[in-house]
Amino acid sequence: MAKSNSKESMKVEKEKSMILQKDMVGKLFKDLSMAKQTGKKVVYTFVPGNISELILSFDMLPVYPEINALQSGMRKLSAGYIREAEKYGHSEDVCTYVKCDIGMMLSGNIGPTGEKIPDPDLLLLSYTGCFTFMKWFENLEDLYPGVEIAMLHTPYQSRGEITPEMTQYMVKQLKEEVIPKMEKVSGIKYDENKLKGILENSVKTGELISKIFETPKNIPSPIDAYFAGVYYIGPINIGFRGTPEAVDYYQELYNEILLRIEKGLGPVTPEGVMKEEKFRLVVEGPPNWTSFREFWKLFYDLGAVIVASSYTKVGGVYDMGFMHDPERPLESLAEYCMNCYTNLNLPQRIDLLEKCITEYKADGFLINSIKSCNSFSAGQLLIMRTLEERLEIPVGFIESDLVDPRYFSYANIKNRLESFFQMLEQRKMFAKQKVV
């Protein structure tokens, strides 16, 4: 079995982009904690298919319950919150993001910075690619009786396409349901020109993100597109898409990555720069948050780099040619929602993963199947089998959960990964012998 990679240094210096992101997130939570004093209205909404540009155009602040849940997972608070929700009557079987979020609210709704997250003025149910979101907000409505609710139903791409009827349906909902509710809550009139201006920044952000996630095509890959990737998608998924700060952040990040490519450097890990890239993987499914560092370490210790992942496309997919269009603001928001990874049908998901495996020259395909997330998990075994048959590529399968530590079995995952990496190594060896 492969030995651990040596690292440049255990003390890792933060790059400028990391500091920029930390400041952005810190400011958002500060603003949220001050919302009642400043009079800013607060909108709870979801990451996939988020229409943060529209929220920004009404000068409101977004809260993403699943971001709170994953932050709680990383801060080892989720187990307690989940217990609270189960005491409240939630089944052990259901989504742990929901339970973690509800448990957090029942425990005072203290956010990652230690400050209270304000109650919502509007629940914006942008119901995209996950049926459980709908149930989640029904529960939130129950916890915040009387709160305004706006429903934005995103049609599923069941036929593998976005039809004009689907876009029209969404635009009508935006015009007749979402925008009037936002006007009512914020007291601000909808300003299309303002939205167009915000969307211009979204285009810049989208272009930069596309370029960033293209860079793992380099060998060695300068980034890990899964474990580090989840940090990279942070700003677009917590409300900064469409802001000048996001454009600056992604420009800085892109410059840093270009520099890494120039120097031939591998990805930055929590223990420094990865020296040797042994395996290139494409990963399907969200990561585990409660043991995120240990989970990541299992990969970089063995020289495995994730060159593409489906999870980083959960907030929106740019790979299939989508880019915001400021000249069609509402249509463009609708198309963004419909283009989220989990809103794609299974054949589309397979095609997209195939494209990643081929174009990024992956050695293997791995699924991290999440107990909580049927939207991702149901059908994954068929996805895996289809890709294995189509590409004759080694495939691996591990199971964990988002934020319930009861479902993260370190030894089990380590065992499975080691076997998977052995398989990859042998395959590489055979390939080399064949060439000789």
Binding site: D93, T132, N139, Y156, S158, A378
Partner: protein, 394 residues
């Protein structure tokens, strides 16, 4: 001579025929007939009927077939129903089915539609995206286009033109079916001993796999039999069962509840058959519009719908009052996000209004009911011994 027992026996055979022989025989009698399978919960079968087709309800395999292949497609933490459906598909039970409809009820059923696409089961697979917007010019319009798409897929197969006249006729037949079912439920509310919940289940479920004309005849006969006094009343409480709308409870579970001191006078087992509350306009120039309007305005409450203006907890309590039940049994399948995530909301509403309830989980192939019997028995006894009149629900 037709007797109620014979009708029930016949329905029992039809309801659990996983080869769908009746439906296939019906199709074989005429060249341009089609079979369209549909998953829970609701699907407007009228449109398939008008296109010379039979919509066949697919409800999993229950405890009637051992799952071997299906388990290889699903992780342990996903509910049972899709495993059985995949098993049926791989074992060729859907041969001669033309298309499949997957109503939007949860992520598992949604992704199952993609699995059917990949496995190339049927000529077409359609995920029917039910609108969560209830305005006629927004959600209604979208829904009409969804229905028209299904019709266009069927037309590609059998080339049968679907006229307004045909649609109106189909709506009339399904209106009659809904009326008859309603009538049976109303009789059972007063005289539940005349027909057990198990027997009613066979009768309703059989209607999902045979032509509507035939089912209406069965229901008319059943109504005739249970109008008269038959059987003996027993000292049981009346309950409503909620949460079993998709993956079906095993028959043993329904029997257990009734044997443990309860009459089930309301349930959501096969709620698709009674989804539309009341009739759909059946003499109109726009029958598709009428079906859409019925969906928007006359749908029952459900875990698959978030009608912001019309909360389901309020509607559940209205149903409690309408059916004059003594309590609610929340019975949901394991790993069913829609049903299980509704529980705290519904139970809180029950607590607020002093409506008594008990809850447990099951799987379609659950085989042991001792615990459930004890739990339901204790629930029934507690109400019989110490129950007070229900608090008025306004």
């Amino acid at each position: 001579m037709q007797t109620l027992t014979r009708i029930i026996e016949k329905c029992k055979l039809i309801a659990f025929d996983l080869n769908y022989f009746q439906a296939k025989d019906w199709k074989n009698n005429q060249d341009d007939r089609v079979l369209i399978g549909y998953m829970p919960i609701y699907f407007p079968r009228e449109i398939v009927h008008a296109a010379n087709g039979l919509a066949v309800g697919i409800l999993g395999v229950g405890d009637r077939k051992q799952i071997v292949k299906g388990d290889a497609f699903y992780q342990s933490y996903i509910c049972r129903i899709p495993r059985g459906i995949i098993e049926l598909a791989l074992d060729g039970h859907f041969k001669s089915f033309d298309g499949f409809i997957f109503p939007s009820i949860c992520d598992v059923i949604r992704n199952l539609s993609g699995m059917f696409q990949i496995l190339k089961v049927g000529t077409f697979v359609h995920y029917l995206d039910y609108p969560q917007n209830f305005k006629p010019n927004v959600g209604g319009e979208f829904y009409e286009k969804e229905l028209q798409h299904v019709l266009s897929e069927i037309k590609k197969i059998n080339n049968v033109p679907v006229t307004n006249e045909r649609l109106n006729n189909s709506i009339q037949l399904y209106n009659k079916n809904r009326q008859l079912l309603d009538h049976i439920y109303n009789i059972r509310q007063e005289y539940p001993w005349r027909l057990s919940a198990e027997e009613l289940y066979y009768i309703v479920r059989a209607g999902l796999v045979i032509p509507i004309e035939e089912h209406n005849e069965i229901l008319e006969d059943v109504c005739g039999f249970i109008q008269k006094e038959i059987g003996e009343p027993v000292d049981k409480i009346k309950v409503l069962v909620s949460g079993s709308f998709c993956e079906q409870p095993p028959i043993g579970l329904i029997k257990t509840i009734e044997m443990a001191g309860c009459y089930i006078v309301e349930d959501d087992f096969l709620i698709g058959s009674r989804w539309i509350q009341g009739g759909v306009e059946d003499n109109t120039n726009d029958p598709i519009g009428a079906l859409a309007e019925a969906y928007l305005k006359k749908s029952t409450f459900s875990s698959s719908i978030y009608d912001i203006e019309n909360p389901k907890e309020k509607r559940l309590l209205e149903l409690v009052k309408k059916r004059k039940v003594d309590g609610i049994i929340f019975a949901a399948p394991s790993f069913c996000d829609p049903a299980l995530l509704d529980m705290p909301i519904l139970q809180k509403a029950c607590d607020d209004m002093n409506v008594r309830y008990v809850s447990f989980q099951y799987a379609e192939n659950t085989g042991q009911f001792k615990n459930i019997k004890e739990q339901v028995g204790a629930f029934s006894d507690s109400i019989k011994l110490w129950g007070e009149q229900l608090v008025e629900v306004d």
